[in-house]
Amino acid sequence: MSAFIASLPTLGRQGLARHGFLAVVAVCFVGFAVANPSFVGGANLVNILSGAVIPLIVGLGMTLVVALGAIDLSVGIALDFGSAFAIVVLKDYGAAWYLAVLIGIAGGALIGLANAVLIVRLRISPFLATLGTFFIGGSLQRIFTHGGGPISYRRLPPEYYDIAVGEVFGIPIRILIAATLLIAYFLLLERSTFGKKIHAIGLQSRAARVAGLPVGRLVAIGFVLAGATAAVGGLVASANLRMFTPLAGNAYLMDAIAAVFIGASMHRDGRPNVLGTLTGVLFLSMVANGLNLMGLDFNLKDALSGLILVAALALSIIQHRRRT
């Protein structure tokens, strides 16, 4: 087998390795389609994309933080804060929808700011700092809601409700929001001076510091942006359900981390990158959707999606190794 692989032209071999993961995605796609033809129906494909919206938004912020060489365990909390701040100002203060959007984003940014202070000022490692924020933020939500009950608000301004259900030229607004953020993050991380500096810090923070980059400030900005971005996910979630559900955001944490690292594993230099994260998110969304359609036992689903993920990554890593 290895002799066969070695005999392939170099280009073909490299292509296979780089795109090994994509090959697995394709195989899964075909498999799900065979198991249930409605999987490839137009409506279901939109379902897959819609299901990927919030994980993608959260994953983009996570991509930035991981590119900085850090991790953010509190993105789910930032998402909750976004949703809570927006719903509360709408319901209790009758705020206009755009103000609610801004305040919601500010709520997520607040979580990012707390992380930034812990990490940059107090020099706590990002893992522990954001774990602390994760616990504190979760507890605050339970206290504020007297034990974790949702705050629902049926009479949302239609503009706010449209964040989740509206369409422009037949394209769901939530998908447009995700696409806009995707492009913005792509430009930010892969094309801007900020992105170059972020990658330099993530690769070798001391060298970045010696070069004169304001490492602390950039790390702080990164965490604030990640929090604010996750809050946008919270806006979509709260508009969709017309309520704020405490601690709902944590459901996206592991998906976001998984998507970022799937994306990084596909990258030539193993770096977190925006398009990789997109692929990871779509993969996870597709697997979740496909397994749903197969009507499998709810309890079995997580195990199966985990297995598919591990198998896909193992395959792409084996091929990666063979290439080098």
């Binding site: 801007s192 170059k196 690769l203 070798q204 304001p214």
Partner: protein, 520 residues
Amino acid sequence: MTAPVPPPTPVSPIAGAADFLVLEAISKGFPGVQALDGAGLGVRAGEIHGVVGENGAGKSTLIKVLAGIYRPDAGRILLDGAEIDAGSPDAVQAAGIRFIHQELNLVPHFTVAETIFLGQELSGPFGLRTGAMRRAAEAFLKDTLDTDIAGHRLIADLGIAERKLVQIARALIDGKARVVVFDEPTAPLSHTEIEHLFRAIDALARRGIAMIYVSHYLSEITRICHRVSVLRNGRNVGLVDPVGHDDADRLISLMVGRDIGDLYPKRNHAATTPWLTLTALSQPPHYADVDLEIRRGEIVGLAGLVGSGREELVDTITGLGRPTSGRIVVDGRPLRSGSTAAAADHGLAHVPRDRRNDGLVLAMNVADNINLASLEAVSTGGFVRRSAATTRAEQSAEALDIRPKTVTTAARLLSGGNQQKVVLARGLATGASLFVLDEPTIGVDVGAKAEIYALIEHLAAEGAAVLVSSSDPTELLGLCDRILVLVRGRIVAEVTPATTDLDRLVALTTGGEPAGGLAA
């Protein structure tokens, strides 16, 4: 800690003996490069044989051919008259040829004994014989390497020199070593640690082991080697036999293929306005009451041993560290301490001593590294103009003769000298007016050294203020207008090259010459 190793006696014990290891007319080509072109090497039993050459001369290829990592296109390897299967690492190992690589590669939480016996553990009917291994490791270190290290200590708790000795012991513990190859063994070591290592190498020579010693440090080569082979462009260009203390210049001329009377550039700069001023700068216990002024167009040297506070002082000036008291002023404006970004805003460019960890982002390419500190100059509205960035990096690489010329090469793939030029290019690109260069030529070969010196001279001639901190007194004397000597955290002397020779400068740095203000 130890008495210095006596220099090899003029009539070497190995003089006239037949070569024990012979590499004969080795050629090895890679696509686009003929790395070795009929190069050879002959090493006698009990000899320490130096191999020198600039980066790219073929030293490391020759060593890799000997190690069996590369199969030579032509040539053969003979050990004690018998030919070894070139290109087979196993055959080389079985023949008793051992390699002490530059990197330590030891597991930090293993004990000394575990490390030395890794893969060849002693075991008895009741499992591993831990005690026996510990005693054997200690005895081996004592007898063979003339050193005392307890077998139960953790690698993590050892100094770098002790780790190096453990690494050597691990290669030799099976008692079958007949040839040992050292690749830059002293690179991470301090002066006293080097003495320690040399004592061990000397002990091995007296046991009749043939040794190959590859190093950039010619002072070490001339000190401990019996003979030296010089490589250039994949060929032998000289065999110095016997090698003596005053052969360094001869070796350098052979290595670069020209006379190096011009290693240091002609002085062509003139001091103008005061630029960097330190006033009563203190950071106990590292340094205290440091006053210093550097003018534009001036190169000021900082001399001092390891532990003299020189590193901490440089770190404070560049914003990596903070003083406990005192002031740093650049161009009349006080510099906020403890911030490299603030220092950069004041026009300071730092070339750090630890190039690989602190100087470059190794995984990024040359262009990104050159542009990293001045991205705004090649961007519009926060977005990098990629063609402008590449063009600027290419011009910079051209001007500084950075090789390879392709700026998309990852920085980690460059040689030390070229990496250093990239760090300098990054500072130049910012338009810095104050350069702080910490060990600017450490681990750099002679040819690149001359180029870096020329560049430093050029910086001063263009009106930059330059501070050079170096452990190489020759370099300071060749380059600087004034040299400040730091002993135990205090500036004890300020000398000029015109009035000071090497011996006096060394004496001053070691505190050997009476001078005021030594009290800590």
